[in-house]
């Protein structure tokens, strides 16, 4: 007779536990379903040399970092110095995807702030971005030798993320 009166309290307790857990989560972060799937194929003109094309399969056999950026993206400027530093390490090729941008503006940014990219693909209409599930710039992917996406980083790459997650992963992938 008495136990049933405790049911509301018990249910409430469960609710509070979940709400507390929820405080630590980000409801807007969208994890990518592309992790551990082959990187979508594409072929687009390059940014610096429009007559030349770049295709995802060009880098098969290598581990590479694919960084989606744009000249209009404020957070990308945050990430830029970190990328420049990472480029100096010459660990892996860094390929940029200039997303929904104007050539002039993008080239201007690279000239002014420096160019960490080995190659830059120019995704003018955003189609490649859609195929890669890009929803907010910047986003970065670590792709292995077989052309499979191994990791997606949402938001600007921080030195911490590089050190803790990305570089160890890259080193591991390079060994295999």
């Amino acid at each position: 007779m008495k136990a049933k009166f405790l049911i509301p309290l018990a249910l409430f307790g469960v609710l509070v536990v979940f709400l507390a857990a929820g405080l630590g989560l980000d409801p807007r972060e969208v994890p990518s379903p592309l992790v551990n799937k082959p990187a979508p194929a594409f072929k687009v003109p390059q940014l610096e040399q429009p007559e030349m094309q770049f295709a995802a399969e060009d880098l098969k056999g290598q581990v590479w970092l694919f960084n989606v950026w744009a000249s209009w993206c404020v957070a990308c400027r945050q990430e830029h110095p970190v990328l420049m530093q990472f480029a100096r390490q010459k660990l892996v090729p860094i390929v940029g995807l200039d997303y929904k941008d104007k050539r002039k503006d993008a080239l201007g940014v690279l000239q002014r702030s420096g160019n960490p990219y080995d190659i830059n693909a120019f995704d003018e209409d955003g189609r490649v971005g859609i195929d890669y599930g890009v929803y907010g710039v910047p986003e970065s992917y670590v792709i292995d030798k077989a052309g499979v996406i191994r990791y997606k980083h949402i938001g600007p790459i921080t030195a911490e993320a590089l050190e803790k997650t990305i570089i160890p992963l890259i080193n591991e992938l390079k060994k295999s």
């Binding site: 009166f5 309290l9 409430f12 709400l19 929820g22 405080l23 989560l25 409801p27 994890p31």
Partner: protein
Amino acid sequence: MIPELGHFALILALCVCLLQGILPVLGAHNGRREWTALARPAAQASFLMLAASFVALAWSFYVNDFSVQYVAAHSNAQLPTLFRFGAVWGGHEGSLLLWVFMLSAWTVAVAQFSRTLDDTMVARVIGVLGLVTSGLLLFILFTSNPFDRLLPAAENGRDLNPLLQDPGLIFHPPMLYMGYVGFAVAFAFAIAALLSGRLDAAWARWSRPWTTAAWVFLTLGIALGSWWAYYELGWGGWWFWDPVENASFMPWLIGTALIHSLAVTEKRGTFKSWTVLLAIGAFSLSLLGTFLVRSGVLTSVHAFATDPRRGIFILVLLFLVVGSSLLLFAWRAPKVALGGSFALMSRESLLLTGNVLLVVACASVLLGTLYPLFIDALKLGKISVGAPYFNAVFVPIMAPVMFLLAAVPLARWKNTDIKEIALRMWIPGALALVAGALIPYLMGGWTVMTALGSALSVWIAASGVIQVARRLKSSMPPASFWGMHLGHFGIAVFAFGVTMVGGFQEEQDVRMEPGETVSVGGYQFKMIGVKDVTGPNYAAARGEFEVTKGAGAAKILEPEKRNYFSSTMPMTEAAIDAGSTRDVYVSLGEPLEGKAWAVRVYFKPFVDWIWGGCVLMALGGLFAMSDRRYRLRVKEAVKP
């Protein structure tokens, strides 16, 4: 100086509320009259302090004091005065101050209008309200102080979010908060009853008008929000099952169950524990809603800017308030004596069935709203639960409720004959079937959903009209009778509006140049042109459209596309010609090449019945509240 005084008033209010919360409750327990006597004066004092604080904040907005951080964040020197006032509750800190101010207003109202109540009971009710207010004041003072200074002061404020610069938004939050906060009174009555051990019909009678009042405000607040979304957001929707909308709807569902359950407890002395649980539930859902909106746990257009510290604080508050109430419930409720008996088929059981269905509906909305959070917390992935889910689940649960509510007024207390009710309902039944068959067909196309919606609306409306007509043949019924039927009729009107708009609205997304026409819903829309205009804090493109139906007189509609100086997102101001049987709605999309514009044109049949129905429901509540028996004084002579 004024902001500091406002801040100081908050601190004083906290001290008074703590006193108000602790002493009268202890006094009621110990029988110390000096302590219980503190309740009313304390309520009055804290109300004055909070009023002063609120006025201080409003004043800061009025004089454009941009040295106050909150004012700088939500206002602007060019902002029209009316919106400057609305900006007081345009952000998190100010809206919380409004919350707490209203809570103290309700408290002082209880203190004022409770002369016929037992003093110990009043002391407990005011005490509980004082404790809740203290909790919220602590939250404000520690994490959300609206009087924080910004030094050096800003040149000009960042402006109120353009979406909020609208008269509808001036009234929507206050109405809504009056509702949320009003359920605190029902909650306090429930706790007082559990504490005192006196849970009887008299308690229900005291509780009822307060609860109904809160419910009326909440109904109007939600309706206002829905109507605002419809005309402000530019694409004609009126409900999105957005988490914050759900946060206001859940207390409404439980509140509806509560007012019906209170009716039974008052008249028959039964369902006492259930009513108390519902009262705790309604206010808990109000608090939960506050948490959901301000903690960043769910994504919503409504969500305030968030800070994890705030989320934790509200969660702790929620845990303490609701946890302790439910613990008290688990401890005290089993001791509550059983009320009178009643048969399997009786008014009591039918009302309880409706109650159970409303609670299930509320639980479903809660499940859908929180499910993404559950799944994410359990690391099972990330999903979204949106309108398709809620519509699929909510309608089948509410349909039986609508079916029942027409018949329940005919049921007798204690024992009722279903066959007898069925016999008396054959006319509404027949009318409903005819409506279900014909109306969709007449409107343009028969589907199951439109038939069901039409049938249920007519079922409720017809049975109401017939019952009222029959009753009028004898004496003039009391206000509560009118309240019930008005409220139920309001639901019929609401449901009819929803069904018609959902089933038969028409829209066209067209490219228009001056001189071109488009035809929607039997109306012709001709674009005359678009010109540039300037407002106090925006620049806009104003379109001019001529709307005609057949040979009738032409109406001019002027939708706008505004660019507020303070924001990069353009705002759509739709132009609506509202009518009793339809709305005709034009909104500007983007400018295209040359003089062409993308234009959205809508024909919305019976859409205003949605909010009209809500107003009728609220009116019904007002009638029910004003019933004489709530105003009878003890000393009045009772005629034999």
